[in-house]
């Protein structure tokens, strides 16, 4: 572990596991609270985490969430094994979704997940290979006054 890394943790999320959707966001939130991170940063990262978790549950087979805290940044890299996204530009637009009725019944799948993650992040990147999976990176800066 590089000396700059204050905390690093990996979580696994399984596709279709609606029952546990939200547990990664909750675990990371608890860690950030213990570290005394500013509430606004915690809220923004938690929203991004939860949307990312629901995306994995709805669309992928499984994914690893690598969560890292450095003195100025909280970052998450989500690497999934899944169908991939053929047209990222399309998927990044609000309202664009391939969700099923079941996903919508659970309050998700309206095509707001990726835009919501980007909106709540200070850094955002997505790469996808159709038939292999998607890698999503997002980060929230830690405000100096925190």
């Amino acid at each position: 572990m590089s000396p700059d890394v204050l905390h690093r943790e990996t979580f696994t999320v399984h596709g279709n596991d609606f029952e546990h959707g939200g547990n990664v966001a909750a675990a990371i939130k608890a860690t950030l609270r213990e570290l005394g991170i500013a509430p606004d940063s915690i809220r923004r990262l938690s929203i991004a985490n939860f949307e990312a978790e629901m995306n994995v549950i709805m669309y992928a087979r499984r994914a690893e969430f690598l969560f890292t805290i450095t003195p100025d940044l909280i970052s998450v890299v989500v690497t999934d094994e899944g169908p991939g996204i053929p047209d990222i530009e399309w998927a990044m637009q609000e309202g664009h979704s391939t969700a099923t009725a079941e996903m919508r019944e659970r309050g998700f799948g309206a095509g707001l997940g990726l835009p919501n993650i980007r909106k709540n992040s200070d850094e955002f990147a997505i790469e996808s290979t159709v038939g292999t999976g998607t890698t999503l990176r997002y980060a929230v800066r830690i405000s100096p006054e925190a």
Partner: protein
């Protein structure tokens, strides 16, 4: 909070002790949890017809201090347990979403305007 309980004739399903002296920053109503995550303000009470676990997770990450289920809907015991664990009180009203929102609005609970 007394106002909310009376206006919507709420039944407190769980977390009654956390409601004492608690004042919401406002209200937000949606069945779509991504809308709550995108647009609700921290401290807003959520009115929803969605009784799944995802409603509780959403409230937790979006700093929603309490959930009101509309239309007489009731969550399962698993959902109640999760909410208790996360410290989020659950309430229920027999009013439907439209009337519940209308009663709050009429009583002066007007949303904070965007600048």
């Amino acid at each position: 909070m007394t106002d909310l309980l009376e206006l919507l004739r709420c039944e407190v399903l769980s977390g009654r002790e956390q409601l004492d002296g608690f004042e919401p920053t406002g209200f937000f109503a949606a069945d779509l949890m991504s809308d709550v995550l995108a647009f609700a303000h921290p401290g807003n009470v959520l009115l929803t017809g969605l009784t799944s676990l995802q409603a509780v997770h959403t409230a937790d990450v979006a700093e929603i201090p309490a959930i009101v289920f509309v239309d007489g809907k009731r969550p399962t015991d698993a959902v109640r347990e999760k909410a208790a664990h996360r410290g989020i009180p659950l309430l229920a009203t027999h009013y439907d979403m439209f009337e519940a929102c209308g009663r709050l609005y009429e009583a002066g609970h007007v949303p904070r305007r965007k600048p």
